[in-house]
């Protein structure tokens, strides 16, 4: 259907109102609370708090764990998607369903399930004892949090990668073979560059929620490992300090925007090469 310019603007209005009310205005509020003190005067003390109280350590830990989880997701998802696209005609629907099914389940519930699986007397350790193997101490460690992140966010890596792989024209691959490329060369010169946009959106979709999560770290970290998300949550719920909470959120947003700028830079440069 074709729309003239007026109609198009008109149809856009509901979204613009929505975005203004529920995205733009709240953002303004967050920034405003972040850079003011209790009397409403401009002040950067709350932003500066990140350097005190050990909050910087929490931010570093969050970035490190989010990065590790993203890399693991990428390494797991890429081969999986390659296999899925190769067997597109047979049972790949079942396999892809298996990876999307976890999304249908409440993530809080599945994280709590991991808690009982990993616990000292949990399912894994009962199994280990059955085989007379030493206990596994995983709960309340960084490893447990990474596991929770990978489990929860893997589908967000699989989906964009899978889509970008299926979009590759088979004829390009055939042409590459005709011109004498072996399968490794086909992979590095054709498949990998063409799937970079998919990988980029996968990375963004895993990295950002992993960076901001507080549920996974609260449940699998035993309250001993605080991520920046947990600190923001506590500032709002226990301290009831909106100024500090918002200031920390603004700092976190800077990192998210940085991530998006970086990925956007990657994205366009490759698109230009490809087309």
């Amino acid at each position: 259907m074709m729309f003239n310019l007026n109609t198009r603007n008109f149809l856009l209005t509901p979204f613009l109102i929505w975005a203004g009310l529920f995205i733009f205005i709240p953002l303004v509020f967050i920034v405003w609370y972040g850079v003011t003190d209790y009397d409403g005067n401009f002040s950067l003390t709350n932003v500066g708090l990140i350097f005190e109280r050990g909050y910087l350590d929490a931010l570093e830990l969050s970035i490190a764990l989010a990065l590790i989880s993203t890399v693991i997701c990428l390494l797991l998802a890429y081969p999986l998607c390659l296999i899925l696209t190769e067997r597109r005609r047979d049972n790949s629907t079942i396999i892809s369903l298996l990876f999307i099914l976890p999304l249908w389940m409440n993530s809080l519930l599945s994280t709590m399930a991991w808690q009982t699986i990993l616990e000292g007397n949990g399912i894994i350790n009962q199994f280990m004892r059955l085989l007379s193997l030493p206990d596994l101490h995983m709960i309340n460690t960084e490893g447990a949090i990474v596991l929770g992140m990978v489990y929860n966010y893997l589908p967000y890596m699989v989906l964009p990668l899978y889509i970008s792989l299926t979009k590759i024209d088979k004829r390009i691959l055939e042409a590459a073979r005709d011109l004498g490329a072996n399968s490794w060369q086909t992979f590095t010169k054709i498949i990998l560059p063409l799937t970079i946009p998919g990988a980029i959106s996968g990375i963004t979709m895993v990295f950002i929620p992993a960076l901001t999560t507080f549920v996974i770290s609260a449940l699998l970290g035993g309250g001993k490992l605080l991520l920046i998300g947990n600190i923001i949550e506590q500032e709002f719920t226990f301290q009831y300090d909106w100024h500090v909470g918002c200031a920390l959120s603004v700092i976190l947003m800077v990192f998210i925007v940085l991530n998006m700028l970086l990925t956007a830079a990657f994205d366009t440069s490759h698109e230009e090469e490809d087309f």
Binding site: F10, P14, H137, G223, L226
Partner: protein, 353 residues
Amino acid sequence: MNKFKILALLLVSLLAFGVAGCGGGDKKENVVYVYSWGDYLDPEVLKIFEKETGIHVILDEFDTNESMYPRVAEGAVHYDVICPSDYMIQKLIDNDLIQPLDFTKLPDAKKYIGEEFYKQAESFDPGNKYSVPYCWGTVGIIYDKTKVTEPVDSWNILWNDKYTGQILMQDSARDAMMIPLKLMGKSMNETDKDVLAQAQAMLKKQKPLVQAYVIDEVKEKLINSEAAMGVVFSGEALIILQQNPNMAFAIPKEGTNFWIDGWVITKDAQNVDNAHKFIDFMCRPDIAVMNFDYLGYSTPNTAVKDLEEDEEIKNSPIAFPSPEVYKGQETYKYLGNQMDEYYNNLWMQVKVD
């Protein structure tokens, strides 16, 4: 379609929504709005109250004193009756958010609530003007008799590195700080920043030994023998002991927190009469027994022990402690906004460390 038509349709649908939205709010005459801890009343009790008085109870629940406070302070929802803890009742009084009770309308509260509980409540509600105690308890150490060999009678055992990775601590600023403060022989309402810094240092030193900082999960973890010991409230201890016979409960000799949750009426309550009726109903012995059986927390109601049918609970020193257990114990006080924040920051630093 022309765009004015679309606009008109949009407006009409918006209006329809608006009208439907307002339609739901028809005001019930005979109600009382109650704001209480999650799962803190036997639902059966509410049904009896509605049947006997014809007053419809609208119940909302909160999970921490801190999350309850802003909702009441901002007056977004007008509650009539709330059930906060000791120090929070003091904060509500200080900020002029609750009103004095009319005890002529509360005969059962006068008759059945024990004298010693009113006395203890004076530490946060001088003159007992604003609150009627509903539940109370202490904080102690619950431990696994098969894993802990030495006698448990001091908070000191929580610093014993023999139990590395086997200790569960409460994830709350006041409850966490209370333990090192008591060990040092100080008040749990300490405001001296040097003393508080020492208490914080002790918690930081303890952190490597701690398995996890927990809130409600503590019950499940100890029932499943996930840890050798944990800091728990007496009501939680009772539930754990019933389900895990290897456990025992001890109140350390250095002293503990004697907490009291009480009923109060908000300043801007719309149904003051109904609120009094509700509070007095909660003090009626047969109702108090029902709530006690449902909750497991100790009750200040003196008539409950005689009415309790379960012999095991009736004779449990945790459900009905002897006065020696709580005599001379301290109760949390509200230390002011700045000190509250100071405590919270000290605790946050322990957790981030």
